[in-house]
Symmetry: C2
Subunit: 211 residues, 2 copies
DNA sequence: TGTCAATATGGCAGTATCTGCCACAATGGC
DNA sequence: GCCATTGTGGCAGATACTGCCATATTGACA
């Protein structure tokens, strides 16, 4: 957990040495293996040993990268955290709270605005899986909770302890989070159903409705 | 999971025979044991065997009542579901969606409006534990997710499939849920800190802020 | 370039979680 | 009071996860 906190706070060094690059690569390989096995069979029917062996690592090593098999299938977590970490410094403590937090969380949808981008395609793949697998939804809300708590701490520190009402800060963050997730889900559902979908438009509509 | 769906839909029969009453009693005993052991030690340090033995049942029976030790400590789940099930028939399909859903979820805070009531005291006890234990927070958001999905289905059925935009329904529910949880958390925090706290006022303020 | 500290990996043992299955006991309707 | 239904416990087994140690790889620095 402290590792994840650091993840949010620290500015990502890009290719810091071969060591870190290999680590990210291994991480990606595990995720790919998990996604494929989950898609083929099911989360319940897939064991950690299966994933580890498919990824070419030992089960022991698997648990050094992910706390559970469910988390291995949710790489978006990292992208989200990165987006938030990038946006944190730009939050204006003087401006309207809801607006600022919505702006921050809005960064999370940016990588997927182009339906044909690789990022969007990957997100769709993961979304499909999540919709089919309650276990993955549970893992997702868990990650979401942790992220929310970290953001709350970070924003409280940035805005000043007494400058912001805890209730309002909490609500601003949770609502922003809910708006983003509902938008992404709706977008993915529409695309999966075969129809067209404009994430930007959906997100704008969600923001308006939540206001 | 289908058991829980039924739980939400069915109108609770009160004391349907000795059998059901004993079942509720056993359930309560397990919960009490779990809460006490968690408070004494920690969730991690407490095993299912500990809880089961303290409650006077076998571990095998424990798992017939709760899916995990964390869930055993969150009995509020049932109260929340009951409140929502009670309120569902009163939802007016013709009225404003956000307002109706907020009204429905508002039922969840009613039992705790009086700080001195037994229900409030129990909620405070659980809240204190939840604030200390990330594992319980994770279990809580998981329950919240399931409840949210059930409510969404129930409301979609009640409002008519084409009458309501999925995005708006989803947002209305999630926001209402977030408002209630933030209110209860704030209320519990304030009371725990020793100060006075008016749940009704907090909830009104949260609703206003979220509007 | 060679050496050393730091770090990643794998294996192993051990504990805890959770489930299916079976036998047995308690209950409640008739 | 009989019988179908339901709750309970025990057992075996699979899986998830962790601590510990040995080993190998990497990267910094002399």
């Amino acid at each position: 957990m402290s590792a994840r906190t650091a993840e949010l706070r620290a500015i990502k060094p890009a290719g810091q040495g071969l060591r870190e690059r290999r680590r990210q690569q291994t991480r990606a390989e595990i995720t790919d293996a998990a996604l494929e096995l989950f898609a083929q069979g099911s989360v319940a029917a897939t064991t950690v040993d299966d994933i580890a062996s498919a990824a070419g690592v030992s089960p022991r090593t698997f648990f050094r990268y992910f706390a559970s098999k469910e988390e291995a299938a949710l790489p978006v977590h990292q992208e989200f955290n990165a987006a938030l970490a990038d946006g944190l410094p730009a939050v204006d403590p003087g401006s309207d709270l809801r607006r600022e937090v919505n702006g921050l969380y809005g960064l999370m949808v940016r990588p997927y605005l182009d339906n044909d981008s690789p990022a969007a395609q990957r997100m769709l793949q993961v979304s499909r899986l999540i919709r089919k697998e309650p276990a993955l939804r549970a893992a997702m809300v868990r990650q979401n909770l942790e992220r929310t708590e970290e953001v709350q701490q970070a924003l409280a520190a940035r805005l000043g302890p007494e400058r912001t009402d805890p209730l309002e800060l909490r609500l601003a963050i949770d609502i922003a989070s809910v708006v983003v997730r509902a938008s992404l889900d709706t977008w993915a559902s529409q695309l999966e159903a075969g129809g067209p979908a404009d994430l930007a438009a959906i997100y704008r509509r969600a923001l308006e409705f939540a206001k």
